[in-house]
């Protein structure tokens, strides 16, 4: 059986890389200054999909909702072996919380479906919420297995998945269609093939190419489809900022008070003083 698969991937600011140069003077992060990367867990999700494709055959469609720059995620996924890519972009999608995001993703998946397997990353590092996957599954009215580490068996409709739980794991058996969220304990993502990478580097969205190039780009398969509100076919009220039910009341800067800790120098005597003080105060 050849499986029809979707992999949902997100572009995120690399929060693993918050160094002093991206901090503003008031201590807030200049998000623009952080490099944009593919959300790390999503590469593990794509790898799981590619593994199913290698073993049993199938086709993978990668979808990403985000600004036009998110095309980079799709180029990356195509270079690693995905078959189709769709960029979900619209001004109306902006400012979405996880609920509004899941509406758009659900509609896009339905529009292109039916699918047997949908893969997401466990969580996106910009918010660590891990909500979008289960929210999409509920909307599609299909089961989900979260925190998956491996698909251990797949045959027609039957599937066995190993998933992480606190302090251990579970083997869970069920049926597809199914949405799976994948952790970084799963098989390591394969690198993009150089050849494919060179090719997909040139991929563009229709709006970003000159009209005279369009024909050739299309012929070579280098035009990545862009779906906005109309193509996705989702009501504007449930997308983006408008469709978000969590509202930010206020954001407060935490002023670190100029509190001076008692300091000790790194010499043996300095450290001894500290240890003695801790002992005298019965802290250790």
């Amino acid at each position: 059986m050849a499986y029809r698969m979707v992999c949902l991937m997100k572009q995120v600011p690399d929060t693993r890389n918050i160094t002093a140069d991206v901090l503003r003077e008031d201590g807030t992060v200049n998000r623009q200054a952080l490099p944009a990367v593919v959300n790390p867990d999503d590469l593990f999700a794509l790898e799981m999909a590619l593994d199913v494709k290698d073993k049993y055959g199938g086709e993978i469609t990668v979808m990403s909702m985000g600004p036009p720059a998110a095309i980079e995620v799709l180029r990356d996924a195509m270079s690693r072996g995905a078959d189709h890519a769709i960029l979900l972009t619209d001004k109306k999608f902006a400012g979405a919380d996880t609920l509004a995001t899941s509406h758009v993703l659900e509609s896009a998946i339905r529009k292109n479906g039916p699918f047997n397997l949908i893969f997401c990353g466990r969580q996106a590092i910009d918010g660590d919420t891990a909500q979008v996957g289960p929210q999409v599954a509920e909307k599609l009215d299909i089961p989900q297995v979260t925190f998956a580490e491996a698909i251990e068996f797949l045959d027609q409709d039957d599937i066995v998945i190993r998933r992480a739980i606190e302090g251990g794991f579970e083997r869970i058996r069920g049926r597809i269609p199914l949405l799976v969220t994948v952790t970084n304990a799963a098989a390591n993502p394969r690198p993009p093939s150089i050849k494919r990478k060179m090719f997909w580097k040139k991929a563009q969205t229709r709006s970003s190419v000159q009209s005279e190039e369009e024909g050739e780009m299309l012929e070579r398969g280098l035009l990545i489809p862009v779906w906005g509100l109309a193509e996705v076919g989702c009501a504007a009220e449930i997308c983006g900022f408008q469709g978000s039910e969590t509202w930010i009341k206020n954001v407060e800067n935490v002023k670190l008070t100029a509190h001076e800790p008692k300091s000790f120098d790194t010499s043996e005597t300095g450290i001894k003083e500290l240890i003695n003080e801790l002992i005298n105060e019965h802290i250790i």
Partner: protein, 335 residues
């Protein structure tokens, strides 16, 4: 029970999860402020005994869904039962622990109810919200560090019910049991459909929780400044000598220096030990959220401007590779 505050109670082999009790403590406070009832629901097998405990811990009403097939968490039947309860009793607030179970269940419920959900809150309060000419009184303020330097965001869900939030273990304290408290127990006697049981657990391997950071008196934590998995041995050694537990930042966990269960912070465990030694940790707000209430904090960092110094009581500006061995030596030489 309409408009009450509700807590999802997670249990394993009849033992109630700590985080669920901590949510009952907070839930009680919120319910009192809102002058409403505190309800909770527990799904599992042989969990009926827990009901009286839950009342002693502060619940006014406990809904029990007991069924042999529900002994371990399964997404579909747990979601269905939770959603049916929410539709029947219409709580205005639902709180869920941010465990692997809670993180599977909460978004599924929120998606079904088409309501907002805020993950990993570090505080919950009741307050009003104004937007233009509109005022909502008594909303749930869902407070958490926002992505960005030192920012805390307050999030509200004004237009839909229930208002939902998840919270990690350790953020709130455990309630004291009062066996004299009274409340109602509703036995749901669930019937399960074939569709509910489309997924089955065929094997489950769960080690007893090895580390209990929450109750450790001393924690020695390492961050990216430790440099490598091998070098983390230094942190372990100091913890061993002082009789404490090892903790870490998310960055150190992501880099594979230590296991995830040792992560401290907004998306890890919140701890309040007597002594917290922060080695090579910058002190990002998400980390501070999980340790700044420690009684004494020692910061060891090469960068004297690192934010960790602002929450520390003792500071050493220097290389942990020199400092830690000296601390070990000084401690061993004490008389």
């Amino acid at each position: 029970m309409e408009n009450g505050v509700w807590v999802f109670i997670e249990s394993d082999s009849g033992t109630i999860a700590d985080v669920s009790l901590e949510l009952l403590w907070k839930g009680r406070e919120l319910a009192d402020q809102l002058r409403c009832e505190l309800g909770c629901f527990i799904i599992g097998h042989q969990v009926s005994d827990a009901a009286s405990d839950l009342i002693a811990y502060g619940a006014d009403m406990v809904c029990v869904a007991d069924h042999a097939q529900l002994v371990h968490y399964l997404t579909l039947p747990y979601t269905r039962i939770a959603v049916e309860l929410i539709k029947e009793y219409r709580p205005s607030i639902v709180l869920i622990g941010a465990t692997s179970t809670g993180r599977d269940l909460a978004p599924r419920i929120a998606s079904h109810m088409r309501t907002g959900l805020t993950a990993d809150c570090t505080d919950l309060q009741i307050g009003e919200y104004k937007f233009g000419k509109r005022i909502w009184k008594e909303l749930l303020w869902q407070i958490r560090p926002a992505f960005g330097g030192n920012v805390i965001a307050t999030i509200v869900t004004p237009e839909t019910k229930p208002q939902m939030a998840t919270v990690r273990e350790g953020v709130f304290r455990q309630p004291d049991a009062d066996p004299a408290r009274e409340g109602t127990v509703v036995d749901l006697k669930p019937t399960l459909t074939e569709q509910d049981l489309i997924f089955k657990i065929v094997e489950r391997v769960k080690a007893e929780k090895k580390v209990n950071l929450k109750s450790a008196r001393i924690i020695v934590a390492g961050g990216m400044g430790v440099g490598s998995k091998d070098n983390f041995e230094l942190v372990r050694e100091l913890a061993g000598v002082l009789g404490g537990e090892v903790g870490a930042t998310r960055a150190a966990v992501d880099a594979g220096f230590v296991d995830h269960e040792r992560q401290i912070g907004q998306t890890g465990v919140t701890v309040r030990p007597n002594l917290y030694v922060a080695c090579g940790i910058s002190g990002a707000i998400q980390h501070r959220a999980g340790m700044q209430e420690s009684s004494r904090i020692i910061a060891i960092n090469t960068d004297s401007d690192a934010p960790i110094f602002s929450v520390a009581h003792y500071g050493i500006t220097g290389d942990l590779n020199e400092v830690i061995p000296r601390m070990i030596k000084a401690y061993k030489e004490k008389d």
